[in-house]
Symmetry: C2
Amino acid sequence: MSALRDIEHNLPLQLLKAREAAMASFRPMLRKHGLTEQQWRVLRVLSAYPDIDATTLAHRSILLAPSLTRILKHLEQTGYVARLQDPVDQRRATFSLTAAGSSKVARVAPDSEALYRHIEAQFGASNLDSLYRLLNKFSSAVQNGSNANT
Amino acid sequence: MSALRDIEHNLPLQLLKAREAAMASFRPMLRKHGLTEQQWRVLRVLSAYPDIDATTLAHRSILLAPSLTRILKHLEQTGYVARLQDPVDQRRATFSLTAAGSSKVARVAPDSEALYRHIEAQFGASNLDSLYRLLNKFSSAVQNGSNANT
DNA sequence: CAGGCATACTTAACATGTTAAATGATTTCG
DNA sequence: CGAAATCATTTAACATGTTAAGTATGCCTG
């Protein structure tokens, strides 16, 4: 019969729900700093991995290329990110934080860490560890077996 | 100093990554049926809970009210969902699947279940159980302590 | 019962998500 | 070498996410 499973066992929905629970506190914090969630993701990734190309950046910040194009345009205009055309491969460009971008990250970081401490206090450090581990295992396990299309 | 944590311990990002890993197979399937992820969420919730008002529907499908307004307008035009104005409270409307809507859900369900079986095979039923449990615990734990703004 | 407040959506405006197609630059190979 | 395939990024078009403000409607209290 293949009846539809209980909605409590809708995995994408439960992942989204957990994410929303976390973002409920992060979004207002970022908003005070004048950043969207995605802009912050990009700044954060560039802070960890300077001078990477757009494809790598998109992969690491879990953004699709068209979204990243728009976000980078915005961040360049704001002055937080600089674009460097690759001299060897003219198709490619690499990106990095400007001084203003680095200092922005430094200003947001303490507020971000405070929210993490809050989450750890509510959920428990050990639970959080288990969750990270399971999520990581899930992402690797499922991505490989993705040949179910046509 | 409050330095920024390792990006592997960015919880919203890891939740998003896991979700994308799952949705990578669901989205093309839904697309074949002419549905977006969110439209399917709404149909799925209405299938489980008929005749609920928009606020409850938004809560259960993890959608914001403005998004739901647009999605419902679309689903009404397509003929999958019917709106019933509440005779007592004129502000409120309740929604339910039409016959076409129910039959659409019935057609999508087997494909959805097949993908779940695939996920279980890759990730393991026991891991999946643990993940559901942790996600559920996380969502409840974090939502309560969300008084950190001003 | 009038004024004020809360409730249930809806609109508006801008940012992002998603798919397909376009544009240019590079590589591959006959 | 040169046409075809590939790659990196962008554009286009439509759907949704997000915040703020608007519109009715209902409730509540003086």
